[in-house]
Amino acid sequence: MTVMATTAAPEAIQRFNDHEGSVARRRKLVTRIVTHACIWVGVILSLFPFYWLFAMSTQTTAQIFGFPPDLFPSNQLLANIQGVLDNVNIFQAMLNSFIVSGLCALLVMFFDSLAAFTFAKYEFPGKNALFRVLLVTFLIPASLSLVPSFVLMSKLGWVGELQALIIPGAANAFGIFLLRQFCETSVPNELIESARIDGAGFFRTYWSIGVPMMRGGIAFLGIFTFISAWNDYVWPLVVLVNPGTQTLQTALASLNTSYATNYGWVMAGALISVLPLIAIFIIGSRHFIANIAAGAVKG
């Protein structure tokens, strides 16, 4: 970062020197007001759909379909939720989503941190070539091989089973890459060296030095993986043929198709599917984004 900054700096400063002088207090105030106004417009646009989802899930279908729309919540929330519970096994779907996302996150955290630790701190034959392969796979979109993946799953006998969602994503290039960077900057070689002198083997070093020092990165990766697994849609849509194993996303899509006549239920279902994730995100946002700024400045 410093390299970039210094090359561009003199020129930029030069340019601003021409502008020297008047820092009118009024202009400063206007700038601040405009800044806050812009931010708040953005915040409202960003959060409004959530409010609207909530408002609609408290209304009857007739209210939702009414024109002009009713902007305020009504009193149908419990009735709508009841409707969802009576018609869709939403708890089973939620449990499945938790199993899939949770296991995915755990496996990714373990396998990725282990591989990242190795790539960051050890030399072994073929390392660079292997790492290059990993980088290329990073750029392949997941939706590319829908058909052959489905055929593969049917040959493995995994069609309709949750492991079809868990196993293929148990280790990924993104996470290894991320943690490798993390590990290179935050795990000092001296510690690993001294562990080696103490007689600790590779896996012990990983477990007792690598893991604690990568903790923050692993937590980030865990939340990240959990959220993307939770929101995955196209693959579960294809592979989960068993009505007993649906994830929240496919259950919700099916609620939307089957009960277009009762939109209050659809909205309540959507609300139920969104809430756990928002809760997890807000709890985890400390790891996720809160200190990106502070960290980046120091780095």
Partner: protein, 431 residues
């Protein structure tokens, strides 16, 4: 010491991975059938495709067998996609399944279903409407799809809105006023001018229902495309629909949510659909109860929907499944299904049994909807639905483009013909 703890760590760390992998390995073949209980037969059906009370009876024991039924409504994000994905994936296939009126879609893979003639379905042939029975026969003559209900169609309309426009509003008057499609369009123009309401939600619905009422559809029995021939039924339906679009009598409401909103508000004051739609309307717009009436649609009634039952090849006990099908579709049971969930019978025996009664509960005011649909059923023409019917959906997508996208109708027609022909050639059909 170091070695020991490393090993234990290895075991611990690897355990997590092994746990997950073992979940995969033990499940090395997913279940072919949804239920592993040998006495349980799983039925897939969708809301309102079968009578819940019959399913409930069979869920204790299927009469005449020692099996019991487990009726399930699978997540519906496209029925055929769901069923065909299960069949292709060879996993979680139901023991019995309902299939909609588009059974011809399954003809190329007919070996996926059991031939019901093996159990003597042939003997029951005369008990059902011949046109309905014939839909269920595959091109090789196997009987794989057993009739459930049929769907004679009619013109649903809002009598109050019609009356407000100063138009005829009694069923007989309306039927008499719309004997041809052009009269129907003229009628709609007056309705639109007076009240701003539409006759029908969109061009898709009109086009589809005209085809549904036509004895000729897209292909001949030998698989030859008919649409591009001179004066074909498809072209005629297309031209009528285009005239209706230009006259402004269709609502251009392409999404179910918009359609529902428009029925509730009276923005759309009519619909052409089968008998089963009454129940959907009742659920969607309960407040409009008593304001709807039924009139004959122009020319003749069609058949829309009306589903079938089939037994996939993986069924645990095909004989018991067959027994269930025959039992649940007897004349008595079909009469009961009409009374309870308005599934119109596919067996004339139910209609003449005297057990059926008007089930509309005042939704159509004083009008008796059973008498109405009984009359309509007599005019439904027999038609041939080809395996390649789905390929012809270019015509419906193109008519939507004309209505919603303002596409030139002639160009849209040519595109539909060309696209359909291209796909047909891809499937080895000379077009």
């Amino acid at each position: 010491m170091a070695v020991l703890s490393r090993r234990s760590l290895l075991t611990g760390a690897g355990g997590l991975g092994l746990l997950a992998l073992s979940a995969g390995l033990t499940g090395c073949s997913s279940q072919k059938s949804i239920s592993s209980n040998p006495d349980e037969l799983v039925l897939w059906y969708w809301n309102r495709s079968m009578n819940p009370s019959a399913l409930k009876d069979a869920s204790h024991r299927i009469p005449g067998t020692d099996r019991f039924l487990n009726p399930e409504m699978p997540p519906n994000s496209g029925w055929d996609t769901k069923l065909r994905t299960s069949l292709a994936g060879d996993a979680y296939i139901p023991d019995i399944t309902a299939i909609n009126s588009n059974v011809s879609l399954y003809f190329p893979d007919e070996e996926m279903f059991i031939d019901l003639n093996e159990f003597g379905a042939k003997d029951l042939k005369d008990d059902y409407f011949p046109w309905k029975w014939n839909y269920g026969l595959t091109p090789t003559g196997r009987m794989c799809f057993f009739p459930i209900d049929s769907g004679p169609t009619g013109f649903y309309y809002r009598a109050d809105v019609f009356a407000k426009a100063g138009l005829p509003s009694a069923p007989d008057e309306v039927s008499a006023a719309v004997t041809t499609w052009d009269a129907w369009i003229e009628f709609g123009k007056r309705l639109k001018a007076k009240t701003g309401s539409y006759m029908l939600i969109d061009a898709y619905q009109l086009f589809t229902q005209i085809i549904n009422a036509s004895p000729e559809r897209y292909y001949s029995k030998s698989g030859r495309p008919l649409y591009s021939e001179k004066n074909s039924a498809v072209k005629e339906a297309w031209d009528i629909t285009v005239r209706a679009i230009k006259a402004g009598v269709l609502g251009n409401q392409q999404l179910p949510t918009d359609q529902n909103a428009a029925w509730i508000s009276g923005k759309t004051a009519g619909h052409i659909e089968a008998v089963w739609w009454a129940q959907i309307l009742l659920d969607t717009a309960p407040a409009t109860k008593g304001k709807w009436r039924l009139a004959s649609q122009p020319v003749r009634a069609g058949n829309s929907g009306g589903s079938f039952l089939a037994i996939p090849h993986t069924c645990k006990d095909p004989k018991a499944a067959y027994d269930f099908i025959v039992w649940s579709q007897s004349a008595d049971r079909q009469a009961q299904a009409y009374n309870e969930v308005q599934l119109f019978p596919s067996t004339p025996g139910a209609l003449t049994s005297g057990r059926m009664k008007d089930a509309s509960k005042g939704f159509f005011g004083p009008q008796n909807s059973l008498d109405f649909f009984k009359r309509q059923a007599e005019t439904v023409p027999a038609a041939f639905i080809s395996t390649y019917e789905q390929i012809a959906n270019f015509f419906t997508t193109q008519i939507v483009n004309v209505e919603a996208g303002g596409k030139d109708p002639d160009r849209a027609w040519d595109d539909a013909v060309n696209q359909t022909n291209r796909v047909l050639r891809k499937h080895g059909v000379n077009a």
